[in-house]
């Protein structure tokens, strides 16, 4: 784990992970460590961990849907300005078509389609960007603290 900025009011940590479902537990561990270090409100931490894990899961399930044995890595960067938390994801998978990113109607109870709903419920904003090379996708989530 690499701390990019030491200023306690402007912290940022980034780590990369193999694009696999087995990496999700490591993504959660990284997130919990960072939130502990950034002293994020304990009541917020687990729902933020859920949002991060759901976004990482979407990379595995959708951006790399046809490449289950990829050796590519995805990166997660958590930054905190004191007033806002920004969580950025970087991957080299299939480009995200934002118009297709939607959750199922919440009253239509059936398996699947909840990950994006959870992210929307937990975070204040979700932005899909083109990644700077070598990245293809760059998802940015923010949450006011």
């Amino acid at each position: 784990m690499n701390t990019e900025v030491a200023d306690p009011t402007n912290l940022s940590e980034k780590k990369d992970f193999l694009v696999r479902s087995s990496s999700l537990k490591d993504v959660r561990s990284f997130s919990r460590e960072v939130f502990e270090k950034f002293k994020i409100d304990e009541n917020l931490r687990e729902e933020l961990v859920l949002a991060i894990a759901e976004a990482a899961q979407n990379i595995v399930k959708h951006a790399y849907k046809d490449y289950p044995d990829t050796q590519d890595r995805m990166a997660v960067r958590i930054s905190c300005t004191g007033k806002e938390l920004e969580i950025a994801f970087f991957d080299k998978g299939k480009p995200v078509e934002e118009s297709k990113v939607k959750h199922r109607p919440i009253d239509d109870v059936k398996p699947g389609g909840l990950g994006t709903f959870f992210i929307q419920e937990i975070m204040d904003s979700i932005k899909f960007k083109e990644g700077d090379k070598p990245w293809i996708n760059n998802l940015v989530l923010t949450k006011k603290l």
Partner: protein
């Protein structure tokens, strides 16, 4: 994730453990679904599950619906506070049988 199954009459209790995510759901289904298919009522004890994501929630929905189809019952028991929060976020507290 580890699990234990106990049987009493026509009811099986499945004790799941750990964190249930996309990587663990197939294992959970492999334990729960055959019991429902065999006509058992299933108590799913989640007291030792501290984390569940949307994949885990999907297993609860699928198991619940499968039990309805088979004419049995799935009861989700002893849900931890953190998992209950996720169930409520998914607005499933009135759908699933929670005890």
């Amino acid at each position: 994730m580890t699990y234990k199954v106990t049987d009493e009459g026509d009811t099986s209790t499945v004790f799941l453990d750990g964190e249930i995510d996309m990587d663990k759901t197939e294992g959970a289904k492999e334990v729960i679904f055959p019991l429902i298919d065999a006509g058992k009522n299933v108590n799913l004890n989640l007291s030792n599950v501290q984390y569940m994501d949307s994949s885990g929630i999907s297993v609860l929905i699928e198991s619940h619906q499968k039990a309805l189809e088979k004419g049995t019952k799935l009861i989700v028991k002893d849900v931890s506070k953190s998992v209950l929060k996720v169930i409520m976020m998914a607005k499933l507290e009135q759908i699933l049988n929670l005890e």
